[in-house]
Subunit: 408 residues, 2 copies
Amino acid sequence: MHDDRKRSGFKSRTRVEDARERLLAAADPHGRTERVALTRADGRTLAERVTAPNPVPGYDRAAMDGWAVRAADTFGASDRSPTVLRAAGDADVAVGPSDAARVHTGSALPDGADAVVMIEQTERVGDDVEVFDAVTEGENVGDAGEDVEAGQSLFEPGHALRPSDLGLLKSVGLDRVRAFEPPTVGVVPTGEELVQADPGPGEVIETNGLTVSALVSRWGGVPTYRNVVTDEFSALRAAVQRDLTKDVIVTTGGSSVGERDLLPEVIDELGEVLVHGVALKPGHPVALGVVEDTPVVSLPGYPVACIVNAVQFLRPLVKHVGGMDCPPLPRREVRLARKLSSEPGVRTFARVEVREEDGEQVAVPTRTSGSGILSSVALADGWVVVPESQEGIPAGERVEVEQWEWSA
Amino acid sequence: MHDDRKRSGFKSRTRVEDARERLLAAADPHGRTERVALTRADGRTLAERVTAPNPVPGYDRAAMDGWAVRAADTFGASDRSPTVLRAAGDADVAVGPSDAARVHTGSALPDGADAVVMIEQTERVGDDVEVFDAVTEGENVGDAGEDVEAGQSLFEPGHALRPSDLGLLKSVGLDRVRAFEPPTVGVVPTGEELVQADPGPGEVIETNGLTVSALVSRWGGVPTYRNVVTDEFSALRAAVQRDLTKDVIVTTGGSSVGERDLLPEVIDELGEVLVHGVALKPGHPVALGVVEDTPVVSLPGYPVACIVNAVQFLRPLVKHVGGMDCPPLPRREVRLARKLSSEPGVRTFARVEVREEDGEQVAVPTRTSGSGILSSVALADGWVVVPESQEGIPAGERVEVEQWEWSA
């Protein structure tokens, strides 16, 4: 008796790290690259190591407003007994003995000069310049290559370009870089109960595909948000086959072990299931596989479970396939206001709100009564990860809140 | 004598908070809104408070796979003496006394039923269902509105939408939201030494405008990256006037007190200078003003100073004008590997690299020898903010590294 019991659980659950490792090992970076203008390159991923073709600055330059001089001419100058030099006009002329040429911060140092006297240490008197302090060779001069030397290595492949990087790349004389094309991702929501709007009894509005598509965009991928596919083997198989031209396929729903959970079987028939069931909560019924070299992430249909798994598996996969580095998520360390419970051996993602209590920022767990509660994640500020080795976290401990949806 | 000395410094420097406050007080949110489809709304800023038109779930639903029943029918059921109910077909039918209807997790609870017996606690025998355990009213049932109640307030104006928010908004029956239009920003690089490429002696490649434009985009604004304007009063005045149709004007270069630093004078002639000179380092020579209701941020030309000031003043201004919340930047707490020096009374932004040393993440100050060193910021992982009240930070202290360019 109780035949159904066997179907209700997973025999074993893979640890998060192992599952991720197996998935990434089975997926290759797509390797497609393109040349991108710096004005459009923010957030793009370098496909090449970049070294500086030119030094910055490209020439010795004045580091202060003042007069370019030969340092030796100023030796012995003081407030009481200024050295008098000849004002040699603008900075383009060469500076000879006893000459001084007016320079502004950043101007090229005129030929012949080897130091700059700050304007405050001088006074112009007719065609003369009185110098009230001595300078040494190189004083107030920025050397060519002081910021970046020619040939200096700046960035490695995989680096996601940031605004200041664009400035640096331009300053060394580049106007384009070779970047990886953004990886393409087929996003396939599944479930016979799903509708796009106006749900009747027993119907549910599709949200996972929308959320996952927006996440994929944030992570540097290009999502194609497909129509809902119903829970039929042939329809699901066709949906997976349609997106084998993509770099990654992600499905939502139908990833568990119930009679309507057909995705693992579909992946198994078309390719290989690498992992089915992961020791994490909420969201253990995730399936990871590969079909004809295209990695497939089959996320559970419960919205919170779907998001937790997307961050754990889809994010590193999109980064890996797109040749991108996968930086850690931003974290905030705060005190835990109430205890968190968790099961040992299972990595638990506890949604929290960060609030001020008694003048201190604290993490307050949100309702955790189910992986279906989308509001528990959308209205949270992040989650606290309770590692497998721990059984809960007592109130009052300092914890790190992972801000998995932070934006600038 | 020493007439020039007076020109070389600022009489006083405004504290960062005061400067920011004065700037924001002089700028109004633009208030323009538009309706945006949820599929295009990630990162957009809500212009309205959103309340849920419909509850989620919209109906009572099964929280488990199993059989929907009247709880009273199961009282007394046990492994040894199961209760026998009549299998009533699919979930659409009403459940009468001694009926049981097969339901899946998430299905609407059939009329008449008030509980769900888990599949593991049952066995199907022909047209009968044996129930091995009693359930109480409401057991394994998710109530309508359990996740979100109708009329529940979800988000306030100013909230920047995140992927999971889109799912939540869709789940309550919305397909569009009213969002603020992105604020428009004229980005005007200035400086007679600036060229776009191939610098000759004394020429410098323009980088600040490129970097600031990319930052503005990241912060939710729409930049217009203008051509370089030379250091002439009439040219600078025309450049400011041209962009009075924008929500914000930002210039780079010419913001100090030298003879070529004309921006403060231009702002003064056309409107009002609110702040000139701020007690921060690197980058004190920033000017903040307003011309015909358009706020103007005049950033210094040194690349690092430019970026530091952009993050301190332009970011909150763009957010304020665009009606957006301005969340704190992500931070990472690590140990400081070497001491940082700073001047008391001045807020110092010390660029650091975060590295692993002896198995621990530590912050290592990058070269700090000047505000012109773009590589010190582009190659850094963030900066440590040394507050005005402190004179440096000793090695070994725990510090927060602000990751001002973090991306997902």
